[in-house]
Amino acid sequence: MADVEAPKIDGSIKKKLMYVNRKAPYGTIYALESLEVVLISAAFEQDVSLAFLDDGVFQIMKNQNTSGIGMKNFSPTYKALGDYEVTKLYVEKESLDERGLKPENLMDITYEDEADDYTEKPSIHIVSRSELTDIMAQQDVLLNF
């Protein structure tokens, strides 16, 4: 009982799991609890990616400050995703445009590419709505938060 049980899956199953983040980071708990599943899923060695669209793009904005609302600023955790081998973060361009945001307003989230002499590479990919549709269509499992 309690805490996290060890995965019971043999390495032969590898699925494409995408976490779809649609809501602002504060105001509801969805963003935080989505991130909690993402971190756990890293232990299962699956092909994990994240999508940020609608108000979900606010989750990875730079310079978040929650001191006025009495909530923990959990945004630094996104920068640690590379250490969990979560290296594909797709951000929908139209959602940024609709909110007056630019790619430079987003945090610098990177990972070290093991296959390329640990070169630091950006995890964030800005994609159009139609490109994101195609990427979603390639997934085995979509988890919406």
């Binding site: 899956i9 699925k15 699956q46 499992v141 919406n144």
Partner: protein
Amino acid sequence: MKFGVLVTEGPYTHQASDSAYQFTKAALEKGHEIFRVFFYNDGVNNGTRLAVPPQDDRNLQKAWSELAEKYKLDLVICIAAAQRRGILDANEAKRHGKDADNIAPGFRISGLGQLVEAAIIADRLVSFGD
């Protein structure tokens, strides 16, 4: 087909648990397998046995518990989400020094890995929420 079911909203406020229940029941009656039903976010509130809905309304917790008993369903409540919202089994109540537990029959508390495992093992993961 082998289904996993994810419920992310609480009972009565939202239709998610009703729809998930109807889907799960229909799938089982058609002979499909439900690998697991996982309750996350406010969905964990489906697993308290202390709710007392009006007698002329449906009792969702009771419906889930009965379905679990009939089909040996695996109803899993996320431990992290449950701790935040005060859903405890006897072990958890003891571990945190609380004076009572409230988990309903047929439900068990476990980690988020159980959701990821269901996503991987099931042919389809069906989500019920916003």
